[in-house]
């Protein structure tokens, strides 16, 4: 029982990442009708926003410390981050350690700008083109973005730790009244899950309760009629693309402490995110989120040792197996709409 609960919890963080990426993909697909293979790259850029900010904050210069000497008797040279001088040692260090949460604020304008530029500069010209062309051009873009990041940051993963306040783990079992020391869960994963729920809630609330969101939903249902009513729907869809880029970017920022960012992390997530989107049903936001969490948790449960003993190799294929079963029993995924992307 606790083992299953632990695996469900372990599946939550990966499920959250799937859900956030799939949400963005569905948003783009539902509004613009574009299959965006560069979405994984946006996730990756988000993670590197965290890397950049933590490097910027710990930017330092060398000063000579007269009070201490090294083993040769010369005055010691120490690297002192500028922040320590400007804000004082204690506050400066805290700010540096909190670089990942701060990167949320830092990444929003960047991701928004990247998404906006991408849509206006490239994707816009591909609305009417076949899906094959969209796949090729966005895949090309993803490779280019990946290589640029690789050029600047190298091919190795870059450790980006969470703030020390959240670094440890806590006893989740004791918290809910089970035996202590059975379910030990890292703080940051819980934070990642809560953050994902918050973002997903915010996106849904935005679409449901604002006039802007209402217009966008109307545009998703019938683009032409909304255009006839004198509303510049293209402009709003561009903003939705930027918003989807932000969602993917934020998912990446917060994922950096869980998995050290490297240049191909986007590709690793991309294929599974597409499976998630399709299992959820093309064009259904709720379906994407549901399928994201479902597949993340299933993947985690399937790696339980007694499950593997019973069905060897199941942990590797469970996502695909479930995807096949769902697609064969429910033709349009869990919550798909009729007539979307079936030709």
């Amino acid at each position: 029982m606790d083992a299953i609960l632990l695996q469900i919890l372990n599946g939550l963080d990966k499920g959250s990442a799937y859900a956030l990426i799939a949400l963005g993909l569905t948003l783009i697909f539902g509004t613009l009708g574009v299959v965006n293979f560069a979405h994984g790259a946006l996730f990756m850029i988000g993670a590197f926003c965290a890397v950049v900010l933590s490097r910027l904050l710990s930017f330092s210069h060398t000063i000579i410390d007269e009070t201490r000497t090294d083993f040769l008797g010369n005055p010691l040279k120490v690297e002192v981050p500028y922040l320590h001088e400007w804000l004082g040692e204690g506050l400066g260090q805290t700010v540096i350690e909190w670089s990942v949460p701060l990167a949320i604020l830092f990444s929003i304008p960047i991701m928004f700008a990247v998404g906006y530029a991408m849509e206006r500069g490239l994707i816009r010209h591909f609305y009417k083109r076949p899906h094959a062309d969209q796949i090729l051009v966005t895949f090309g873009l993803a490779i280019v973005l990946q290589e640029i990041v690789k050029y600047f940051f190298g091919a190795n993963p870059i450790q980006t730790p969470a703030p020390p306040a959240f670094a440890g783990s806590f006893d989740f079992g004791a918290l809910v009244g089970l035996d202590p020391n059975t379910i030990i869960y890292p703080y940051w994963r819980l934070i990642y899950f809560s953050f994902a729920v918050l973002i997903i809630g915010a996106v849904f609330a935005f679409l449901r309760f604002t006039t802007f969101g209402m217009v966008v939903r109307a545009g998703m249902a019938d683009r032409e009629t909304v255009g006839l009513l004198g509303i510049d729907i293209d402009k709003r869809f561009t903003l939705m693309f930027a918003l989807a880029a932000c969602v993917a970017g934020l998912a990446g920022v917060m994922y950096a402490p869980i998995n050290a960012p490297n240049y191909h992390m986007g590709m690793d997530f991309l294929v599974l995110s597409f499976v998630v989107v399709v299992v959820g049903g093309m064009g259904s936001l709720a379906g994407a989120v549901l399928a994201g969490f479902l597949l993340g948790i299933l993947e985690s449960i399937a790696s339980l040792s007694w499950v593997i003993d019973y069905l060897p190799g199941i942990n590797q294929i469970v996502i695909y197996l479930v995807a096949i079963i769902i697609l064969l029993t429910r033709p349009r995924g869990l919550m798909g709409r009729k007539g979307v992307m079936e030709d």
Partner: protein
């Protein structure tokens, strides 16, 4: 000739000449010159050109004709490879039984996968095929290790049974051969500093590719091919007229799966080894990109796309900075430094950047891929000439209907 019309015969002859003369054409630079780096005429790369050409031709029969985008074709290539290597381990190092078995096994596997996946269309079909391929990959990696060799893969060993080869004598390192002609045999021709390599394996693969190409032309021009195009244009309407499209799409799927198996068998015939990474989704994605890059639904496009991607993968990735410095040594230091830094972004380890940019440029400026874009451009030019001509003569003839010859 061979039941083809004039244009297709011409195309087949041109392709046959190009593949037969490839050792000359791909080695335009003399050995030892600074541009010899760009020579693609060595056996390993030439074999890859034609083998992945076969893979892409087969993929195009499914994707180009029916519009069903399979994201799991590498699975059939991998299954074909495993079948071929087992034939080599158990029966004989002769490549013919290996290749035949790889085609049959891949065909049966694609029949099973196709039967299930073709119940859905559009992106749902793509994801189903992807799921099957990824499952094959994961299983080959883990549970099926006794059959697939797991992470290390399989290669022929000295102490394999090889029933038919037993008479030949054991203790000899097993090499793939065709009735005694080893696949690795090469004959080199030296001519005024040019070195041309003629490789037995390449010519076997090239001849098989020509046969495969000929069959694909026949399929494209047949009533069956017409039916597949109808599926692509409007499957619903076809269903309403009382046609059951499933046998047609399934046949196309199995044919393209057999092409993939053939390519897999040939890969094994050339390098006698196989590993599960051959079935990974990136391999499936690669053939999709080859086909789209060359031109979906065109006859020769996929072969060109496969050649271009394989050429870049093998040639661009080998260029390093010291080579670049040697090229720009004649320039002033400041200029050459800038050039080297700039170009080293695009070659060597960064060749993927060039690939990505190429994808984007081709899609943006040549819709329909290399072949589709060029033909479309040419046709547009001719049509505007025609229109001018008709306007001049003021005759109201109907505009010349353009042939759909690709």
């Amino acid at each position: 000739m061979f039941g083809l019309n004039r244009n297709d015969t011409l195309l087949l002859i041109v392709v046959a000449l190009l593949t037969m003369l490839a050792p000359f054409l791909l080695n335009p630079f003399p050995e030892g010159s600074s541009l010899a780096q760009f020579n693609g005429g060595y056996p390993d790369l030439m074999q890859r050109f034609v083998i992945f050409g076969i893979f892409a031709i087969g993929f195009n029969i499914l994707f180009g004709l029916t519009g069903y985008l399979s994201f799991g074709h590498a699975a059939f290539l991998g299954v074909g490879s495993y079948a071929a290597i087992w034939m080599m381990k158990l029966l004989t190092m002769n490549v013919i039984p290996a290749i035949i078995l790889s085609v049959i096994v891949a065909g049966l596997f694609s029949l099973l996968v196709g039967y299930i996946c073709l119940r859905r269309s559009g992106i749902y079909f793509s994801i189903l095929t992807l799921a099957f391929a990824q499952m094959s990959y994961a299983l080959a990696y883990s549970v099926l290790t006794p059959i697939t060799g797991g992470e290390t893969g399989l290669q022929p060993k000295l102490n394999d049974p090889r029933i038919l080869d037993a008479a030949v004598g054991s203790g000899v390192t097993p090499r793939a051969n065709l009735f005694g002609i080893e696949m690795g045999t090469s004959w080199q021709m030296d001519w005024n500093g040019w070195v041309f390599t003629f490789n037995a394996g390449y010519y076997l693969a090239a001849i098989i590719m020509l046969i495969a190409f000929y069959l694909s032309i026949r399929i494209f021009r047949s009533p069956f091919g017409l039916m597949l195009r109808a599926v692509k244009t409007n499957q619903n309407r076809l269903n309403y007229t009382g046609v059951n499209t499933k046998p047609y799409t399934l046949a196309a799927f199995v044919i393209s799966g057999m092409y993939a198996g053939l390519a897999g068998g040939l890969l094994v015939a050339m390098d006698t080894q196989v590993g599960p990474e051959r079935m990974f989704w990136t391999a499936s994605g690669e053939v999709v990109l080859m086909t789209i890059l060359g031109g979906v639904g065109t006859l020769i496009g996929p072969v060109l796309g496969a050649g271009l991607i394989k050429y870049m993968e093998n040639i661009l990735s080998k260029i390093n900075e010291s080579l670049l410095e040697a090229w720009f040594a004649f320039m002033p230091d400041a200029v050459s430094d800038v050039m080297v830094t700039l170009l080293s972004l695009f070659v060597g380890k960064g060749w993927h950047l060039t690939l990505g940019l190429l994808f984007m440029i081709v899609v943006i400026f040549l819709p329909g891929g290399l072949v589709g874009g060029l033909i479309g451009g040419g046709r547009r030019m001719f049509r505007s000439n025609d229109r001018k001509a008709t306007r001049k003569t003021k005759s109201n003839q109907t505009p010349p209907t353009s042939q759909t010859a690709e």
